[in-house]
Assembly symmetry: C2
Homo-oligomer: 338 residues x 2
């Protein structure tokens, strides 16, 4: 029931996802009266979908604490619980991000060896795509959080970018070793010295995100959220200025018409819909957050992210990686035992 | 002697600035043998320029601490000292940012009422321009720093954007009052309740930078540096993708030729050269940092920023504003007396 045009987008997204993942089955939580008319009897989707009715839904402005207290019976609450109870393998929601994170943290609990989960997503770069985390789950992070984010981000990059040994960079205010706050300096030391199933790329500056200098960019949730939204805002600024540029004169308007086939690829690459599906990573349960304004196709992308994480057993792979670094990494050890 | 093509760019920049500020006079510090040939005897610039020779120069990779210890006799060191000694009213440099900040802090000291100076600059937005600070002078900032940055940023916006009562926003991970770390929450409370010569716009998210939702964006130096560079990187990404879009086919190439006049305005607006001139604000002396890769025209812009700050007496205006808020603002009072 979450997102700007729910539940229509969710059902249509599932229908699109069904063509890409024919073995997927869906539990849909929400208002049956709203959901039912969106699927006809002959609909292939209805054959793999079970609707679980609830009249309750979390509002997009509800504070997370309130959602946690009173939203257990809501569509979001029941969907998250279905994963905890083993009825479903992953939950996908376009609803209230704060509420979803709070519920998932409460019901799934963090994985052994992980102090805090992180919100991770994929961003477009000049090279292709990069995984970035934390995008806002934790406003303050210490070095252990950053080290764990690096391990989790690398695991996610293997699945989403299909890179076996991803280059992982720490976002910082300079590339030199002396730069930055204490957390990034200490995290860098550990990541540099510990044998990890990733390529540590050292410090990465903000412009490295767009350039694609790393496959995984690790940062605290405050900086990551600001950087992500700054990037989205500047992309919008560029499109706004581009629109003005083409509206400059009759000649530039004609130029637009001619250039349109090329411009479409640019728009597609920068469109957040095409990189939809943020993951709250580090919990004993998988949860994917779709943009609230996602289109049906974008929601299908989020379902695809979810399906791939299940297929590739993300949680198990993170647990294995943590196991590998356990004996030699003081950062991870400390966090695992604390 | 600082910047990618020094001292040629610096001298040419001064020559351009001379046409815009006919009453300006220049002290140029550096290698006389390199500087002299760039000005002929009949050159109007040489009539208002005094060259002060030094063979020493700070390298672009020299650590700030080393520059501070051994760079007193360098072109940068002597230039900063000339302001402290009253020989010049403002220093402009395209050299090593860290070294320049360290020297300026050491020689000028912070203003009364200011705990730490901030690096401020002007960024392009969809509406026009916005002042942003801190862009990297302080990797960690408390609420008093942020409050003082707000006062200083507003003073700078009056001069650079000619807005008498600038809208000042605090960069945060959400617009709601409960969001963010303790520093931004406490700074917001003080800014909301204190009568200040500015319009407090509350919390601003990263995408607000490009949208231009505030005239001044206040943040800590870690987040600000990452956001600034992320913005620069995404602008480069947009241009990179745009280039590919126009190279798509013969037709899109023709489209580019037709659209060129409109695209030039877009490029100009996003070009950092046209917003050149970062200011280290909050010291008893004025210092302007030009991009190291600035063109002569961009360096002239940085000189223009310097000239306007002198003309509008930036330091005096900040001192007055701090005086106004002194009795009623616990944040600023505390910092002023600590």
């Amino acid at each position: 029931m979450g997102g700007d045009d729910a539940p229509r987008i969710v059902v249509e997204g599932a229908r699109l996802a069904q063509t890409r993942f024919p073995t997927a089955r869906f539990l849909m939580f929400g208002d049956e009266a709203a959901l039912k008319p969106l699927m006809t009897d002959g609909d292939p989707l209805s054959r793999v979908t079970e609707i679980r009715h609830t009249p309750e839904a979390i509002g997009s402005a509800d504070p997370p604490a309130q959602a946690l207290r009173r939203g257990r019976g809501s569509s979001m609450g029941l969907a998250v619980r279905s994963v905890r109870d083993g009825d479903a393998q992953v939950v996908v929601s376009a609803g209230n991000t704060g509420a979803l994170m709070a519920m998932a943290k409460f019901m799934f609990k963090t994985m052994s060896g992980i102090s805090r989960p992180a919100l991770a997503s994929v961003l477009p770069t000049l090279q292709g795509e990069t995984v970035m985390l934390d995008l806002g789950a934790n406003v303050e992070c210490d070095e252990d959080n950053l080290i764990q984010f690096a391990v989790m981000g690398a695991a996610l990059a293997r699945i989403r970018l299909q890179i076996e040994r991803p280059r992982v960079g720490l976002l910082n205010v300079g590339a030199e070793e002396l730069k930055g706050n204490e957390s990034v300096k200490r995290a860098s030391q550990v990541l540099r010295e510990t044998p990890l199933p990733l390529e540590f790329a050292g410090f990465v500056e903000g412009d490295g995100i767009g350039k694609g200098v790393a496959d995984v960019i690790v940062t605290d949730g405050f900086t990551g959220n600001v950087a992500l939204k700054t990037a989205e805002g500047i992309a919008q600024l560029a499109f706004g200025l581009l629109k003005r540029a083409f509206e400059h004169s009759a000649m530039t308007k004609l130029g637009y018409i001619l250039a349109k086939p090329g411009l479409r690829a640019m728009r597609d690459h920068l469109d957040p819909n095409n990189h939809n599906g943020a993951v709250l990573i580090g919990l004993n349960g998988l949860v994917v957050k779709s943009h609230g304004s996602a289109s049906a196709s974008a929601f299908a992308n989020a379902i695809g992210v979810a399906a791939n994480m299940v297929r590739d057993e993300l949680c198990d792979r993170i647990a294995e990686d943590l196991q590998k670094v356990y004996p030699s990494s003081p950062g991870v050890t400390q966090a695992a035992t604390s």
